[in-house]
């Protein structure tokens, strides 16, 4: 082996030695992994689970409304539900019922935060609900409603990390996804 090649090999060996993974990656992985467990057993158990859920819901009427997330859209003068025909420029209204003393609606496009309510100017807060109004652009949206008995960690900007931190903090989460083409 010639000395120049040995130098290249040595340089390859040390490549990136100065880089460390971002702080807290293990907890983010754990949080994400535990919320993304394989759903395979559900395929078989789903009918039974659904039946049990229906019975439980009927028997246990909740004293207070839980966290709910509803999306409606303005397309010109038409208000629609569902996302089958969404276009750039349509306006989405993401309304979440307030399930706890601390609550939020976070909207992500292509996994990056584009709006956080409360706080953004497009947010409306009432005693019962919080609504975020967003004009849609092309891309994949994730809309997340959160509620908690303790303060929510402020979002840092990326869907996975923000959601993992919120769930670690004990927040209840409802989310919906849609794509604007």
């Amino acid at each position: 082996m010639t000395e120049p090649i040995a130098r290249i090999e040595a340089a390859l060996t040390g490549l990136g030695a100065e880089h460390e993974p971002p702080v807290g990656w293990q907890s983010r992985v754990l949080a994400a992994a535990t919320t993304r467990k394989s759903p395979k057993w559900w395929w078989f158990a789903a009918p039974a689970v659904a039946a049990v859920v229906v019975v439980v819901v009927i028997l246990q009427q909740p004293d207070e409304p839980g966290l709910e997330l509803a999306l409606t859209f303005d397309q010109g003068n038409v208000v629609v539900r569902g996302d089958t025909s969404l276009h750039a420029g349509d306006v989405m209204h993401a309304a979440a019922t307030r399930g706890g003393p601390y609550y939020a609606v976070w909207i992500y496009r292509n996994d990056l935060l584009v709006m956080a309510c409360p706080g953004a100017i497009q947010c409306r807060v009432t005693n019962q609900a919080i609504t975020a109004d967003a004009t849609l652009a092309l891309g994949r949206y994730s809309i997340v409603a959160l509620s908690s008995d303790s303060p929510l960690p402020p979002p840092k900007g990326r869907f996975d990390g923000d959601l993992a931190r919120a769930m670690e903090a004990g927040a209840a989460v409802r989310s919906k996804n849609l794509t604007v083409r």
């Binding site: 090649i5 130098r7 290249i8 060996t13 990136g16 992994a33 394989s38």
Partner: protein, 155 residues
């Protein structure tokens, strides 16, 4: 793992995402791990796939951004024939790795940065050990020529 993802992708944010994805996948698939290889080999096999996927997605999204990484060329150049110092070598090496095919870059990183044997790499890459060895052996002189061409010095 992070070093490998970062050097293979040359993007800290993407490397962070891919590394997380690898461990999430590993966490999910751990019951399916058959112990035919070491855990490290198994993890890097997942990583290799996810790195290739990420690179492919990025290429599709940014196909219009194809510019020469001229800004990373050390400047000023040493005089012709002068020995390249380690800093210049590293910078030029990074730039030259970018010019290689992804499969070759992966093989080089797995072999030297991560220290895997060709047999381990064979399991990860689904290639014969001899094929990988040939890839690596051929790539080193190519890297040398590229590095010396970029820096104007001698290794």
């Amino acid at each position: 793992m992070y070093r490998y993802c970062r050097e293979a992708l040359r993007d800290a944010t993407l490397a962070d995402d891919v590394q997380q994805q690898v461990f999430i996948e590993a966490f999910r698939d751990l019951p399916k791990f058959t112990h035919r290889s070491s855990v490290r080999t198994w993890l890097f096999a997942i990583a290799r796939h996810r790195v290739l996927d990420a690179a492919k997605s990025r290429r599709r999204a940014q196909s219009h951004i194809e510019e020469d990484d001229a800004t990373s060329v050390p400047d000023p150049r040493p005089s012709a024939g002068e020995r390249i110092d380690d800093g210049r070598l590293r910078d030029a090496l990074v730039a030259c790795l970018d010019k290689l095919r992804e499969s070759v870059r992966t093989a080089l990183l797995l072999r030297f940065q991560q220290g895997f044997t060709f047999e381990d790499m064979s399991e990860m890459c689904r290639e014969k050990p001899g094929t990988l060895q040939a890839q690596v052996t051929r790539a080193l002189p190519v890297l040398r020529e590229c590095i010396e061409g970029r820096t104007g010095g001698a290794l």
